[in-house]
């Protein structure tokens, strides 16, 4: 059953609210909210310790960029630390999950054999493995990277498996009629056909990895965006915490934006073809 994105003709947005274009109203909303916040802070209604004034937040931005927090560790250092960890964990997960997913997806036996293990392992809260990782791999980078890898791994794996399983049999039949050997079938049909789903899994995996790393960085390190806000907590520096959260939010947006761009470049032919597994 096809659905359209506008609800009904009568309810259609005319694109204008209160006579102004929608975009303007949205921007105005944000400005108004910030303005109210500033005023409430000024009037002393909002506890400055809990809700620092927007003007202070802006000043803190500058401070984080130049002086850093803790002093000497600028926000760039934090970002770099986080990025490096994510990339390493993510790459590790992808390199293992994709071939494994392809193999499992194409083999009924492997699929059945690994299904219970995968289902269970997926449901283990990634963060709960943090103490274990610390015991086994110490408090250094390795345990953090492995945790991120574990977090990303399952999303990439399950989506790759589903993608490989669900290659349209029409493609396979068509290929068989065109003198395709088994190897050629795999590399020239199954792999490209699975690619959109692999990519979807990679997007989700990165999302999960991103969340994991923030939490992981709150334990045992002082470099990294997660560490930044955790430090802020210890010193009751709500302004640092909030600014840190904003940085994290922007960072997350950049990641998904980049991935979307990347997808459009690598897979120009696959627009909205896929159903995704969470």
């Amino acid at each position: 059953m096809k659905r359209s994105t506008k609800r009904s003709v009568d309810q259609q947005k005319s694109g204008r609210i209160l006579g102004m274009p929608e975009q303007a109203v949205k921007i105005a909303t944000v400005v108004v909210l910030i303005g109210i916040w500033e005023m409430l802070s000024q009037a002393g209604i909002l506890n400055p310790l809990h809700f620092p004034r927007p003007s202070k937040l802006i000043a803190t931005f500058w401070e984080l960029v130049t002086v850093g927090y803790p002093t000497g560790i600028t926000v760039w250092v934090h970002i770099k630390a986080t990025v490096v960890r994510i990339l390493q964990g993510y790459a590790l997960a992808a390199v293992v999950a994709i071939p494994m997913g392809l193999a499992i997806g194409r083999s009924h036996l492997l699929l059945r054999a690994t299904n219970p293990i995968i289902t269970f392992a997926r449901s283990i809260a990634v963060i709960s493995l943090l103490p274990l990782a610390i015991v086994w791999f110490g408090v250094g980078e390795l345990s953090r990277i492995l945790l991120i890898a574990w977090g990303c791994f399952w999303a990439i794996l399950t989506n790759t498996v589903q993608g490989a399983r669900q290659v349209d049999v029409n493609y396979i039949n068509a290929a068989r009629m065109l003198s395709t050997s088994k190897t050629q079938l795999f590399f020239r049909v199954i792999l490209p056909a699975t690619l959109p789903r692999i990519f979807a899994g990679m997007k989700i995996g990165l999302g999960v990895g991103f969340m994991v790393i923030i939490a992981v960085e709150m334990v045992g390190t002082i470099k990294g965006l997660g560490a930044l806000i955790q430090q802020a907590r210890f010193y009751y520096s709500s302004h640092i915490a909030i600014d840190g959260m904003i940085f994290i939010g922007i960072f997350g947006l950049l990641i998904s934006f980049t991935l979307d761009r990347l997808e459009r470049i690598i897979l120009p032919w696959a627009v909205g073809l896929e159903e995704v597994e969470r």
């Binding site: 009629m177 050997s181 490209p192 073809l273």
Partner: protein, 247 residues
Amino acid sequence: MSKDGVEVLVDRITKCFGADGMALQDVSFRLFTNEFLSIVGRSGCGKSTLLNIIAGLLSPTEGKVLINGQPIHGPGQDRGMVFQHSGLFPWLTAVENIEFGPRNRGIPRDQRRARAMELIELVRLKGFENKYPRELSGGMQQRVAIARAMAMDPKILLMDEPFGALDQLTREDMQRELLRIWETKKKTILFVTHAILEAIFLSDRVIVFNSKPGYVKKEFVIDLPRPRQKSSPQFMRYYEEIYEAIG
């Protein structure tokens, strides 16, 4: 259209799908060189199953398919197939789709590109060769699918309701296109459809197929000169006879 030489002999094919029962029961018929043969019947899996067996994609439970006296073992270069939903590879452009088979065979780039472009011209898609399937209309996709199947130069073309997903007008265009290609390239075509008018318009012979289980009910030789008029009385008479035979 010469009728000399039996190209394909379908010999007592039976196919069972476990609990689903008998899909095909003792199906036998002949397909002659350069002939256009249609199989009509109600919508149901029997006809497609039969076509898949002849293609070599499925094995029969009993019986065999002989081509020029030799039994078939799986798909082969002598048979090409066009599916209802084109089955074009969405990650390849039109011309790359057509080159797919020759590329698998190791034919060098220039050669296969030249051949593919010939076929693009044959199916009248010049200018669209670098488009992806999703950029092409249904009719155009099927034309690419036909060209792709023909890139391997098969003697026999198997077509499984290839125009079923198209709208009526495009469908009629494609019917004429197919006839033109058939007459130009002199292929043997086995065409499956549930549209009786289509079958009569296109074919030398029409086999009426029963569904569940599938078997040959009746055979009709369409003795009309081409191009055929769907409105002519003889045409309508064939239609009535076949319609009644389907039952």
